[in-house]
Amino acid sequence: MTGGSIYAVIGICWSLVYLITKVLNFTTGEFVMLGGMLTWVFRTAGFSLVPSVLFAVACTILISMILERIAVRPVRYPNEVTYMMITIAGASVIKGLVLLAWGSETRRIESFFDTEIIHLFGATITSQVLCVFGLLVIVTIGLSLFLNRTLFGKALRASAVNLTGASLMGIDIGRFRLFCFGLAGGLGAITGIVITPITFTGYEVGMLTGLKGLVAAIVGGWTMTGTMVAALALGLIEGFGAGFISAGLKDVFALLIMILFLIVRTMNFASRTGRGSP
């Protein structure tokens, strides 16, 4: 279930960027990695936990926005393939820089609370897992409030439905794109920070974690509820697969699900949804 919640938040990051900008942002996973990694960096530099988390999130948001400005925005002939190559290139740049700066060892940060284990209704869970669930709840409630209640959020939804129409209504699309990249970067970083005490982090964790978020987003049809359901199911399937078949092949299941889903979707009976389908 922990995995599932993580994938849900990451999936929401993917769809935020995809729906507004039509960019499939392959750096999403790297933001997750950056969040954990930067927190570790600030922690070892001697900051206490809260400032390092804040710094890490701020840095990731900044990096995400810089990426949008210098790499995604100036593309002269924008199309899906170009965007994808750009973000894949961006991901490998981030990964390479992290490797150069902080090496290939896996890093960890300590749990947020002193009490590691909590007894709840007879079951024992670690406090960190509770943090992960808490994150998912806060993110979903916060985002849906933001998207449905504020003017800015409503404008965002409008531009997801029809970009040209939204810009004709006086919505500044350029600022929105920047905002979406920033928001996705920030959410990704927070996810990375929360998960790091459980799974550790290293320069190469981003790609796979990010891809599983993408699986959830695709299977969920780019909507928030869909993504959450798909992500939780994905986490369960992965857990069972690791338990019953092979722990080493755990990651293969998620990817297989994605491929199978994509193939099934192309058959006639599956692709009758409205928004979000290509």
């Binding site: 499939l24 210098i70 790499a71 100036p74 593309v75 002269r76 002939y77 899906e80 393939v81 170009t82 994808m84 190559m85 750009i86 894949i88 290139a89 961006g90 991901a91 490998s92 740049v93 990964k95 390479g96 820089l97 490797l99 150069l100 090496g103 290939s104 320069y203 190469e204 790609m207 796979l208 891809l211 993408l214 695709i218 092979s246 080493g248 092949l249 990651d251 293969v252 990817l255 297989l256 994605m258 491929i259 994509l262 193939i263 192309t266 290509p278």
Partner: protein, 329 residues
Amino acid sequence: MNGVPQSKLLWLVSIAFITAIPLVAGSYVVGVMCFIAIFGGLAVSMGLLLGQAGMFSLAHPVWFGLGGYVSGILALRGIAPPWLGSIIGAVFVGFVSYVIGAPLLRLKGYYLACATFGLLLIVQISLGQLGPLTGGHEGLMGIPPFSIGGFILETDVHYYYLSWALCLACLWFLYNLMGSRMGRAIKSFSDSEVAAKSMGINVPRFKLKVFILTAMMASLTGSVYTCYLRFAEPGIFGFPLQVQLMTMVIIGGGKTLYGPLLGGFVVMWVKELIHMYLGKVLPRMGAQVDALFFGVLIIVILIFMPGGLSGWMDRLLDLGRRTFGKTSG
């Protein structure tokens, strides 16, 4: 095609040039050129897929790796000599790419890329997990060298000629292919699938054909590669290789057939220069760090030079022809 001077003279000159290099250059240059031929050949087949057919498949390293693994395993177990193994590998890869490609190629754009990316990771993880067969994460050690009828290819120069022969054969084959009916069909559906369909072109079938063909080419290159290194491990067929290939295609320009080879030339020498000059400053040099530089290159080229080197050269040739040409149409 596309204003490229594709004359017999040019072919002869380049073949003569390539043949002459080992006679004058040192073993270092020959070694690098050998890699250029292997990865350039791979990039040429990927360029056909990406640039000409407009299919963004990220699975190319899979075919490269599978080909290498099949011929490597067959040769290690003594079942088949490498030359036969590489042909068996190509047939095997052709079959696998048919089975996988038939359903997968219904997907377009982002979704095709996502699915093939998934495939890439699945194969890489599985190669690491299937220990008894593939040697696991340590990889296959001590693959016997290429040998044809008692003549064993051992030195860099031998592999130089082998890999360049394969690379140029692929290029030549693709030039002929693109001039044929099938080639014109491929180009037509990269521009507009609907228009191609309305002209009576069976788009899915041609897509599948191109997919299988490029996969088999990649497999052959992969076999030569593993025989040259005499070693194979899952890590070298992964995401960094894909980024490297993308860089080659983008730098060279995917709209022409020779572009990716040109890109391969540039990329491999840039890589060597980076290793030479930065190797002392930056201690942790690996495929991931190379990917960092390639990433920067990709972004810069895509923003400032979308046509790549060959697109740029074509424009220059075009300009020259218009300025100095006798007749102007």
